[in-house]
Amino acid sequence: MVVYKALLKTIKGKMTSLIIYFVVFAVFGSIVARQNSKSMDSMFEAHQVVIALVDQDDSELSRGIAEAFSQMDKIEKVKASTEDDLKKLNDNVRFDIYDDAILIPSGFEANVLAGHESGAEFLSKGQSASSTLMYTKFNTFVKNVTIYMNAGFSETEAIVNATDDMEKAEPEIEMVKANDKTGHSLMAVMYAFMAYSMMMILSIGIATIISSIKKKDLMARITVSPMSSFRQNLEQVLAITTFGLVVLLAMILVVCIFLGNEADYSKIWYYSINSAALMVVGISFAFFLGTISQDEGVIELVSNMVFLGMSFISGVFVTRDFMSESVLKVAHFLPVYWYVSGTEQIDTAKVSEIWGSGLVGSLVMQLLFALLFMGAGFVVARKKERYVL
């Protein structure tokens, strides 16, 4: 197994790059999975909004507002007196440090009691859903306080009553199971994210193996060796397959370690079969790339451009819900699209119905892409050999 061992050793030279892509998957994959996953809840849980509150009035009413909001949302009291402070607050809202910010100016209570414009303002990311929610809550509370006061209650009583009403309101809410569950479980998101790193690692690792074989000096030595070409090719295929399987298993291991007990493992075999199909695509693309160029820099550059593009368009980094129809139509011509479709089909179907969910079609499409790259690689290799001869 001389050739087999030698080829696996050549990958060691690229170990730093491969580890970087592996770490990218392990760290970012688990973060993204936790951010983008949606679980099916059996009980209603209110969406908690993080609100920055600038209270320059410090009145009974403004403190009442803070108290009422803190029952439902997370309130952070901040100080902002200058225009720069407000810009900073605006930036924090725009970049999701806070969902919204409420600015209560001095004189707010007096204005409300006098029936004038209150002067209260809020900062939000445009007309966001969270700001709509906050706006509704704010208006409801202040309106209730004023109504109580107009009905003959004192200000303190009005605030206490309005807060009490908010606290005691418990709507009856029933969760109904939807027909179609969207494919965003922890496992599905993590497996989808695997696509980029796995393709990069396979591409760089295997293309390095193939390009090293194609180097003129090494090729000449291989040609004059007593080992049969069949044996050489067999060991080359074995080395490439071993590398591919090691990468696949390592990635699956990372998924299990990073998701721990949080994920549902009942479908892991199906996800792994889908990933194995993508592994074949990665190997065949690497073969194609390795036959085109022997320059390691070019291999890394082209791999990055191709797989980064594929991953963005196919829904690996950005969920497909946010992407335009036309982009998704183009993505049908990319293997990663079918891989992501596979993960969604596995995620949405019951375990017993996975094979009938369209997964077979996605696997076949991936394997067809693998055949296409492999065929193109053989054509390029043959042309190059003819040219050399």
Binding site: N150, G152, D165, A169, E172, E174, M305, G309, V327
Partner: protein, 419 residues
């Protein structure tokens, strides 16, 4: 001599395939994939509130209940309000239809209003309101008790902001019910005032503060992309200096033997790198603005000028790295790690990371060249040339000069006994 070295460095840099690939093509490809990934989100902001589609099933004996009136009120947009869309889009339907549409995801939820088990028919707050002006206090209490027998249930399929909005609507209604009961108990003489004010929807106690320019937050990814492209200049610079140092390459040995003034040649090389990198960034900016149609929000010439300054900063950082690092592997690894780590913390991979760092450790944002560049371009495009914009520009100039001076100190007075 300056001009001679400058022209030859330009020629040499242009002939490096990897330089063209990483510094010119890669940012264009990345901008394109960002566009396909986020472009939709920039043009149609996903955070913009879309009215919640909700069903309403009335299984009470009344045709137009107070709750239904409340829901109807929420389907209209108040002219004085900041809001463009109504809170709800209401669909009245039967229970079976609502269940079907909810499960199919056509509505976010539905309200089911039924007659309470012990209701006597006068079971709504509307009845309470109508009788409020005519009957005595005891009757108020009686009607109020009956009104609580109307059951309103909200049915949803998943948690989230839409479900919370629907729940909040129901809460508001329950608040009003509690209020009416309380007023009836303690100040019955004012019940009519309460009912009038409850039905008055034209009260806005808070309005939205809008800064002049609110460029979509996703554009920040493109700012970070420009920062990354500018810092890629450090690779170009290390490669250039490799060819000028005798301990790095054969060409370096020949260069060190030549009678050319070393510092003049190094500065000519730095200028060539800066111009090339600036050109590469300009192409990316023009591509993003005119081809992808994503507007930065500020004057494009200023953005280009900032990118040249950022390129100079990236190149000078590269010069410092090349002056400090002596091994060939470090000269490849350090600039890559430097540019990628700085870009990450400026928001290339996680859009709000710069804001998080600003909260936790603002000093890091002042010394991270990519974050300083993104800050300058962000400030300019969103708030104009304010004090913080100029602070960022000054930091970039200081960083550039500092790195050039330090690298000059490291590179000067190098002499060899033999080569």
């Amino acid at each position: 001599m300056f001009g001679h070295v400058f022209i030859y460095q330009m020629k040499q840099l242009f002939r490096q395939k990897w330089s063209i690939g990483w510094n010119f093509c890669f940012p264009l490809v990345l901008a394109t994939v960002f566009f396909f990934g986020f472009g939709n989100l920039i043009k149609e902001d996903p955070d913009v509130f879309k009215s919640v589609e909700v069903g309403y099933v009335n299984e009470t004996s009344q045709e137009d209940t107070l709750f239904e009136q409340l829901l109807d009120g929420l389907t209209e947009v108040d002219e004085d309000s900041d809001r463009d869309n109504p809170l709800l889009i209401l669909h009245e339907m039967t229970a079976d239809e609502a269940e079907e549409k909810l499960k199919a995801g056509e509505i976010s939820g539905y309200y089911l209003e039924t007659t309470g088990a012990d209701s006597t028919g006068a079971d709504s707050t509307e009845a309470l309101a109508k009788s409020s002006a005519k009957v005595g206090t005891e009757a108020f209490t009686e009607v109020s008790t009956a009104s609580t027998e109307t059951d309103i249930k909200l049915k949803i399929t998943e948690n989230g902001i839409d479900a919370t909005i629907l729940s909040q609507v129901l809460k508001s209604y329950q608040n009003s019910e509690s209020m009416v009961k309380r007023v009836m108990e303690e100040h019955p003489e004012n019940i009519q005032t309460v009912m009038d004010e409850l039905t008055n929807d034209n009260q806005d106690f808070i309005s939205q503060k809008v800064f002049n320019k609110n460029v979509a937050p996703f554009v920040n990814y493109f700012y970070a992309l420009l920062a990354m492209a500018s810092l890629f200049g450090s690779w170009m610079c290390t490669a250039m200096l490799q060819g000028m140092c005798a301990n790095m390459s054969e060409r370096g040995k020949r260069f060190e033997c030549s009678p050319t003034n070393k510092m003049t040649a190094v500065f000519a090389g730095l200028l060539a790198c800066t111009i090339l990198q600036g050109l590469a960034d300009t192409i990316v900016i023009l591509y993003i603005n005119y081809v992808l149609g994503i507007h930065f929000g500020g004057n494009l010439l200023v953005v280009i000028a900032l990118s040249f300054l950022a390129s100079a900063m990236g190149i000078s950082c590269g010069a410092l790295i090349a002056a400090i690092c002596k091994s060939e592997s470090l000269l490849i690894g350090v600039p890559i790690a430097f540019s990628m780590i700085c870009s990450f913390f400026s928001g290339l991979m996680v859009g709000n990371i710069r804001a998080i760092v600003e909260q936790k450790c603002p000093f890091f944002n002042r010394i991270n060249p990519a974050a300083v560049y993104v800050e300058s371009i962000y400030r300019f495009c969103n708030y104009g040339a304010d004090q913080k914009f100029w602070n960022s520009v000054i930091i970039m100039v200081c960083m550039t000069l500092g790195c050039v001076v330090l690298s000059s100190l490291f590179l000067r007075r190098r002499s060899y006994g033999s080569l």
